[in-house]
């Protein structure tokens, strides 16, 4: 195991961060704009989000690079900025983190379907490798390949990210099938854990999904299926619209209550995904006190 991860695991659980997109919107990111581009155009505001999470108790923060792969950036005409956006994303989070907080560079999915021939394995590998290189040069301590629906794509991103020699975690979304416990492509929690372990992941996780309650059993099963550190960042729940604004009806305290059950299952890293904010992180950080 990498020294970075060994050191991190001395505290239990490790508190990660919450959603970034909605936080950036609170700081002025327009609807439909490319959040990742803000690393170049509004680095100060991206840094505010990182600091808000650190102030709330995050011991690990991510980077604002979730969609900063060539295949997504080209939809915004930013395909030539992949390296710069990722490097800046790494630099911004590291600056906010100083020496106290560990930074995981975020790599999200390509938005293309490998099995339908929309993209080749080689194109995916190159896209993720370039993103990972930018993150590594920006100084991140580790990489998290997250929100993956397709195990094949996740494995390609893992292999590409490992070229940096940094520790790489992989986190899948389990939201499909009758019991909502499989990936979009039908892979079970156990099969994903075994395959990612074999492919060399340094940690395995589940994020996003249908809300924290549905991730309690997913977390328990992941902890049984692997010896590797387990990373869980669930959504707050399903969003609703109240007075024209997006609203999640789960309170930070309720989120923290379920997070406690998830931590008791043996999960090492806990945080939130869509619908969470620094208040949610503050509530789960309080569980450690």
């Amino acid at each position: 195991m990498h020294a970075t991860i060994i050191k991190l695991l001395k505290t239990h659980p490790v508190i990660t961060d919450g959603a970034w997109g909605t936080q950036l919107q609170n700081h002025g990111l327009p609807q439909g704009a490319c959040p990742d581009e803000w690393n170049l155009t509004h680095p100060d505001r991206v840094e505010i989000v990182a600091r808000e999470y650190i102030d709330a108790g995050s011991e690990v923060i991510l980077t604002n690079t979730f969609g900063a792969n060539k295949l997504i950036l080209e939809k915004h005409g930013l395909q030539d900025k992949v390296y710069e956006i990722n490097k800046a994303g790494g630099t911004i989070s590291k600056k906010a983190a100083a020496n106290d907080v560990v930074v995981f560079g975020s790599i999200g999915p390509s938005g293309k379907m490998l099995m339908m021939g929309e993209v080749t394995a080689e194109e995916l590998h190159n896209a993720f490798a370039k993103q990972a290189k930018g993150l590594a040069d920006g100084g991140v301590d580790a990489i998290i390949v997250e929100t993956m629906a397709d195990l094949e794509e996740a494995k390609i991103a893992l292999a590409a990210a490992k070229e940096t020699k940094l520790p790489v975690f992989v986190s899948m979304v389990f939201d499909s099938g009758k019991d909502k416990d499989r990936t979009l492509m039908g892979i079970s929690v156990e099969d994903a854990a075994v395959a990612l372990d074999k492919a060399g992941a340094d940690g395995i996780g589940a994020n996003c999904g249908l809300g924290i309650e549905s991730y309690i059993s997913v977390a328990k099963r992941l902890c049984k299926a692997t010896e590797l550190p387990v990373w869980i960042k669930p959504n707050a729940g399903m969003p609703e619209i109240v007075d024209g604004k997006i609203h999640y009806d789960i309170l930070p305290e309720t989120f923290a209550k379920h997070a406690r059950t998830i931590i008791e299952a043996g999960v090492n890293f806990i945080g939130g995904c869509c619908g969470t904010n620094p208040e949610f992180i503050r509530a789960i950080a309080a569980l450690k006190k």
Partner: protein
Amino acid sequence: MENLKMLSEAIINGDAKKARELTQQALNHRVDPQQIVKEYLIPAMDEVGRRFECNEYFVPELLIAARAMKGSLELINPILASRGDKPAGRVIIGTVKGDLHDIGKNLVASMLEGAGFEVIDLGVDVAPEVFVSSVKEREPNFVALSALLTTTMPSMKQTIDALQESGLREKVKILVGGAPVSQRYADEIGADGYSDSASGAVGIARRLIL
């Protein structure tokens, strides 16, 4: 008709090459194209949907079956069109403004095509006014709206409001779907139908068109 049973099998198994061959053979033997669709292709896709609902099939199987179905329909549809047969219904589909995600939208489009609907795909990041002008021009039965992001869900409401303001709302049924979308949200914004899966969307469309 033995070959036509095999056509159903080929669709269910996602064997596009075989499905095309068997469709062509049937057409060469002057089997009525409408009969091929109604008695063999659509029931095959219904079986695919059933297997999806009970966890035997997942998205990959759904996609390859829909692709096989599409191959057969490419042979059949020109014949149906030339003699003036109408499709099951017409659907305009798109991912709403600000949202660039298309996997879910494409999946729903494939399944609707597989069920015999004519699908007009407007792509991603589709502005409300583009939906409005397309509805005016193409007069669909359905408008299907997709969003993956919490932050772009409000574009669904804006699209429905724009259709309302243009006086077109009552002329179409509106279907919504996507990861953050729920039945409650669909009700709040005044959509006619919601499904949490692509195969479910077909059932809703069939029910609403009656």
